[in-house]
Subunit: 200 residues, 2 copies
């Protein structure tokens, strides 16, 4: 086996990609529409993944002011509180994380930055008619208007979010028929498939 | 853009791969060797990812009996407690998750199953001399003896674990120089790079 010497990979920031984590409207296990709770670890893991894959922004979307405030408080510990000195890489990860009440505000924010509305791509664990492949989705990253990739918490995005989408991404499958990944794992894998590369 | 109809992917279970999550010896932020605490969400996310990617086993390695018991108690809620009825997919994910005190016990367990010792592959966020590429690592999955992929909690695996490894996997890089992923995200991405595929 040939071994490789560690080298600094070449970095590029050509994609205009954004991430959104939706807490409403999402489904519960009985396919009812609910509002899910903010989860500390989701903010951390998705902010870190968004930074690794060079995303231009990560939006935490929650309609309830108390929950928005909780998300802000968690982040401020790391961006300006004790955590900022303890772990500067966490501060860096949160710099592009924003908390907004609804998808419409996310679209407005991206339009303000990019001067054009993003294409919306939704993700989920269920195969759906009209879905696009990972290869097709990867092409969308390298040209055209900005793209907003949406993930649902709890049991996934509600049908009304799918209806607003320009693209539905095919589900992740491994070699097993089991495909119940956490939203943290699914987001990491999808960002890697769409924006990652192996350095060798 | 051509859209694809959702189809059932073909599943295969040809790899003899195992996952290990190490809590000792790992490093803290000052590069000192420590024992880290069991984290509820790591058990869930890595068990679910291991099931998705068809691993033969996931070992949670912790030297302290109280912490082993905590890990077992978390899992038993989902395998035989209330959670087993509430979410059967979580029960399924934990079926191949085992808690052991040290790496030597993991090796013995795999030898008992496979009748041969596994090759050990370690992972980390720092480039190292002698590391192998993801392409090379992917080849290791499809032939030869079983392979045990090790992940470190906290600030990563201690040097003594690297010394015991047969292979050191290159770090994950996205398009950004930031590469501070959580162990949950890193494990998901590595399993996908080594064992995943796109269905189309």
């Amino acid at each position: 086996m040939t071994m490789i010497a560690p080298t600094e990979p070449l970095f590029h920031h050509s994609s205009k990609a954004y991430l959104g984590l939706i807490h409403y409207p999402v489904l519960n296990k009985n396919a009812q529409i609910i509002t899910s709770a903010v989860t500390n670890i989701n903010l951390h893991d998705l902010s870190r993944a968004a930074s690794t894959y060079g995303l231009r922004g990560f939006y935490v979307v929650h309609p309830i002011p108390d929950q928005q405030e909780l998300a802000q408080r968690i982040m401020s510990h790391w961006t300006s509180g004790y955590g900022a000195a303890y772990n500067p890489t966490r501060k860096e990860a949160f710099l592009k994380t924003h908390v907004l009440a609804e998808l419409a505000q996310v679209l407005s924010d991206i339009i303000e930055i990019e001067e054009t509305p993003p294409r919306i791509m939704v993700t989920g664990a269920t195969p759906r008619s009209g879905q696009i492949s990972f290869d097709q989705a990867r092409q969308l990253m390298t040209s055209g208007p900005p793209i907003l990739i949406l993930f649902g918490t709890s049991w996934g995005l509600a049908p009304e979010v799918f209806e607003r989408a320009d693209f539905i991404l095919e589900p992740i499958w491994g070699p097993s028929p089991y495909n119940h990944l956490s939203v943290r794992s699914a987001a990491a894998i999808i960002l890697d498939r769409l924006l990652g590369r192996t350095s060798s």
